[in-house]
C-alpha cells in the first residue's frame, strides 16, 4: 500500500515537473538561465539571476522583441553541480523550448553543458562568468560566448599593476579553481617578465575555516605584497582579515572577485589605498553607473558580487541578436551575435532597448555600452573587455584608471 502511494507521488511529481515548467508556452521568446541557487555558488546565483531579470524587465517594458513578443526567462538551478546543471540545460532546451541560454556560472558546469547539450542542439550559450581558457578553444561551432574576459587578460594587467607599484617581490594566494588558476598563471608570467619575483604561489581550498598556515607559507621570504585571487564569499575576506590580524601582509593587490566594499568593512584603516583590477567599461561608457542605479531601483542595494552586470549584458546582447536575426533559430542567433555588435557602431546604453531596436531595423551596427562595459566578441566568442584598476579610498571602492586591451 505504502509502496503504491510513494510510487504514485513520485510519478505525479515527475509529470508535474515536465508539464508545469513548459505549460505557459505561448508566443514568447524564451531564454533559459542556468544559475546556481543551491550548492557552492548559491550566494552568487541569486544575484546574477537578478541581473538577467533586470534586462528582461527593460526589454519587456520597451515593447519586447520580434515585433512585440515578450521575453520570457526560465531558470534552472544548477546546484553548482555538473550532473544537475547538464540535466537542467537539457530540460530547458527540450522541454521548455528555450532559444538561447545565459549561464552557467562556473566553467565546471558551463563546459559540460555546452559539450553535451547546447552545441549538439545548436543553441547559443553565453556564460556571464566562466573565465576558463578552455572555453576559448572549445570545439563549439561558434555557439559558445562569454561576456567576461578570459582570465589571462586581467592577469596581465594585475601583473603590470604590481610592477608599477614598485613591488619587487610578490606572493600570490589564489582560489583553487579554474578562475584562480588561470589568473595566477597569467600574473606570474607578466610580473616575472617585468623583472619581479614571485616568492610563493599558493592555492587555497574554498570555505575552509582558517587560512593562517597558507598565509604563513606565503609570508615566508618577506615579499613586498600579497596578490589575492579570491571571491569574497569563499574565503577571500577571511584571508584578508587573517592576513591583517596576524601581520602577515600590509600591502595587497586584489582581483575582480574582491571588488566589493564588503572587504573593507571593519578593516578600512588597513586597506586604505590598496588597489585591485577588474574587467570594466571602456573610457566614456556609463554602463556600470547606470546599471547600479537601475538595479537598486528594482531590487534594492546592489550586493558586492561579480557577474551581476555580465549576466545582465549576456541577456541583453542575446536579445539584440534575436532581434537582429529576426528569428529564434540557434544558427541565426549565433550569426547575428557576430554581426550586430561593432566597436564603431552607434552607442546604445543599457536602458535604451527601443533605440537598439530602431537601429537594428535601420540596419545599423551597435556599440553596446553594457553594464560591465562595452561588449564585443572576438571571433571565438570571447568578450574583448577592458580591465580597470580600482582603489580603496575612505573605505569605498573607486575606479582609478582603465587599461584597454
Amino acid at each position: 500500500m505504502f509502496k503504491k502511494k510513494i510510487l504514485i507521488t513520485m510519478l505525479v511529481m515527475l509529470f508535474l515537473s515536465l508539464t508545469v515548467s513548459g505549460a505557459f508556452a505561448q508566443d514568447t521568446v524564451k531564454i533559459g538561465t542556468l544559475m546556481p541557487l543551491t550548492g557552492g555558488l548559491a550566494s552568487y546565483g541569486q544575484f546574477t539571476r537578478n541581473g538577467t531579470l533586470l534586462a528582461q524587465k527593460i526589454i519587456n517594458e520597451q515593447g519586447g522583441l520580434l515585433g512585440g513578443k515578450e521575453l520570457e526567462l526560465v531558470n534552472v538551478d544548477t546546484q553548482t553541480n555538473p550532473q544537475a546543471g547538464v540535466d537542467g540545460a537539457q530540460k530547458l532546451v527540450s522541454v521548455n523550448g528555450i532559444n538561447a541560454i545565459v549561464g552557467a556560472l562556473s566553467s565546471g558546469v558551463t563546459i559540460p553543458v555546452a559539450e553535451s547539450v547546447t552545441v549538439p542542439a545548436e543553441v547559443v550559450l553565453i556564460s556571464p562568468s566562466s573565465t576558463s581558457p578552455v572555453l576559448t578553444t572549445l570545439d563549439d561551432n561558434g555557439y559558445v560566448f562569454r561576456t567576461v574576459p578570459s582570465d589571462s587578460l586581467q592577469g596581465v594587467v594585475a601583473g603590470n599593476l604590481a610592477a608599477d607599484l614598485n613591488h619587487d617581490s610578490l606572493a600570490i594566494i589564489y582560489v583553487n579553481n579554474d578562475y584562480g588558476q588561470g589568473l595566477n598563471d597569467a600574473v606570474i608570467e607578466q610580473f616575472e617578465e617585468r623583472g619581479g619575483e614571485v616568492t610563493a604561489s599558493i592555492a587555497f581550498e574554498p570555505n575552509k575555516v582558517s587560512y593562517r598556515s597558507e598565509l604563513m607559507e606565503a609570508a615566508e621570504g618577506n615579499p613586498d605584497a600579497l596578490l589575492l585571487i579570491a571571491y569574497t564569499d569563499d574565503g577571500g575576506i577571511t584571508i584578508i582579515r587573517q592576513a591583517l590580524e596576524n601581520g602577515f601582509f600590509e600591502e595587497f593587490i586584489f582581483t575582480d572577485g574582491l571588488k566589493a566594499p564588503e572587504i573593507t568593512e571593519g578593516v578600512e584603516q588597513y586597506l586604505e589605498g590598496m588597489r585591485g583590477t577588474a574587467p570594466t567599461s571602456m573610457p566614456g561608457g556609463k554602463g556600470p553607473e547606470l546599471f547600479t542605479k537601475l538595479y537598486e531601483e528594482e531590487f534594492g542595494e546592489i550586493p558586492p558580487k561579480p557577474y551581476i552586470d555580465t549576466s545582465f549584458d549576456a541577456t541583453f546582447v542575446l536579445a539584440l541578436a534575436i532581434e537582429k536575426a529576426g528569428s529564434t533559430e540557434g544558427p541565426a542567433i549565433r550569426d547575428a551575435l557576430g554581426e550586430v555588435l561593432a566597436e564603431d557602431g552607434m552607442v546604445v546604453n543599457i536602458n535604451e532597448w527601443n533605440k537598439a531596436k530602431d537601429l537594428i531595423a535601420a540596419g545599423e551596427k551597435i556599440r553596446y555600452e553594457g553594464a560591465s562595459g562595452p561588449v564585443l566578441f572576438n571571433d571565438v566568442g570571447d568578450s574583448m573587455g577592458a580591465i580597470g584598476i580600482w582603489k580603496i579610498e575612505d573605505g569605498n571602492i573607486v575606479n582609478e584608471s582603465i587599461e584597454v586591451q
Partner: protein, 316 residues
C-alpha cells in the same frame, strides 16, 4: 512544449538516470549482497571518469594523455583502475567493522578529489578535462543521444545480467551466506575475506565503468562533479529507496530518485524570482523529508530484499 522536445529530454533524462542506475547496481553488489559499507562512491566514479578520459583522448599539453584508445578500451580501463583502487583500499579495511570501512572510503574519496584538483600534470587540475571523445560522434545526427542511451542501457543490462547470474550462482551463494552468518562460511572452508574483496572490487569495476560513461557523455569532467552529495549520498538514497539486495529495485530506485531530484525543479520555476533561493532550499528540504518518511515507514525500500537462490526447485 513539443512532443519531440519532451521525447528528447526523456532520452536525456534516461541517460543520466541510467548512469546513476549503473552506480546503484554497483553499490548493490557491495552493500546489498556483500554488506560492504562504501561511502566513497565519488572516488571510484572520479577515477573511472578520469581514466577513461585520459585513455581515449588525443594528445593534450594540459594533462596526461595522448593514448587515443577506443571508447570500449577506455571504459574497460576505467573499470580496471577503479577495481585496482578498491583492491588497495580493501586490503587494510575490508576486515574491519562495516562503519570503519565506510569512513575509510569517504576519506579516500576526498583524497582522490584533492589529488585530481592539485595534480595538474595528470588531470589538468581544477580546469578539468574537456573534449572527451564521444563514441561514434557525429554518426547519428540529432538522434545521437538515443544512440548513447542504447549504450547505457546495454551496460545496465550487462551488469544486471552479470550481477543476477553471479548472485544466483555458487559464488553468490557464498556471498549471501556470509551475510547470514560469517562463522558458518568459515567453518565450511570458505575464505570470507576473499569473497568480500571480490564483491568490493566488482562493485568498484562497475562504478568505474559508470564514471567512464559519465565522462564520455558530458565530454567534460572537473573535480566539481565528484562531491560527496551528488556522487555518493544520492546513490545511497537511490539504493535505499529502491531496496537493498534487489537489483531490479536498485535500478528503479535510481530512476525514481533522479526523477525527484531533478523533477522537483518545477517548484523553483513556479515561484516569483525573489523567492527562488528560498524555493531551491525548500526543495532540498522536501527531498530530505521524503527520504526520512521512506526510511521511517519502509526501511527496506520500495521493493525490499529479493529472494535469490542458486537452486531451481522446478526439476525436483
Amino acid at each position: 512544449m513539443t512532443f519531440a522536445g519532451v521525447f528528447s529530454y526523456l532520452v536525456f533524462f534516461l541517460i543520466f538516470a541510467g548512469i546513476y542506475a549503473v552506480m546503484t547496481l554497483a553499490l548493490n553488489m557491495q552493500r546489498g549482497f556483500a554488506g560492504l559499507f562504501n561511502i566513497g562512491i565519488a572516488g571510484f566514479w572520479a577515477v573511472g571518469a578520469y581514466t577513461s578520459a585520459i585513455m581515449t583522448k588525443g594528445p593534450s599539453p594540459d594533462h596526461l594523455g595522448g593514448f587515443g584508445m577506443p571508447f570500449i578500451i577506455g571504459l574497460l580501463a576505467a573499470g580496471i583502475i577503479s577495481s585496482l583502487l578498491a583492491f588497495l583500499v580493501g586490503i587494510p579495511t575490508i576486515r574491519l567493522r562495516e562503519d570503519y570501512l565506510g569512513i575509510a572510503t569517504i576519506g579516500i574519496a576526498e583524497i582522490i578529489r584533492l589529488v585530481i584538483k592539485n595534480e595538474a600534470w595528470l588531470t589538468n587540475g581544477v580546469r578539468g578535462i574537456s573534449a572527451i571523445p564521444k563514441p561514434l560522434a557525429g554518426s547519428f545526427g540529432s538522434n545521437y543521444n538515443l544512440f548513447f542511451l542504447m549504450i547505457v542501457v546495454l551496460v545496465i543490462a550487462l551488469f544486471y545480467y552479470l550481477s543476477e547470474k553471479g548472485i544466483n550462482s555458487p559464488w553468490g551463494r557464498i556471498l549471501r551466506a556470509i551475510r547470514e552468518d560469517e562463522e558458518v562460511v568459515k567453518a565450511v572452508g570458505k575464505n570470507v575475506v576473499r569473497y568480500r574483496m571480490e564483491a568490493f572490487v566488482l562493485g568498484a569495476f562497475m562504478m568505474g565503468v559508470g564514471g567512464g560513461l559519465y565522462a564520455h557523455f558530458t565530454s567534460f569532467i572537473s573535480p566539481e562533479a565528484f562531491k560527496p552529495m551528488q556522487a555518493t549520498f544520492l546513490v545511497w538514497i537511490m539504493l535505499i529507496i529502491g531496496g537493498s539486495a534487489n537489483n531490479f529495485g536498485s535500478i528503479v530506485g535510481a530512476f525514481l530518485t533522479w526523477g525527484i531530484w531533478t523533477g522537483t525543479e518545477f517548484l523553483t520555476g513556479m515561484l516569483p524570482a525573489a523567492y527562488t533561493t528560498q524555493a531551491a532550499a525548500i526543495r532540498v528540504i522536501l527531498i530530505g523529508v521524503f527520504l526520512e518518511i521512506i526510511l521511517l515507514n519502509r526501511p527496506e525500500g520500495l521493493f525490499g530484499e529479493k529472494k535469490y537462490s542458486s537452486v531451481s526447485t522446478a526439476d525436483r
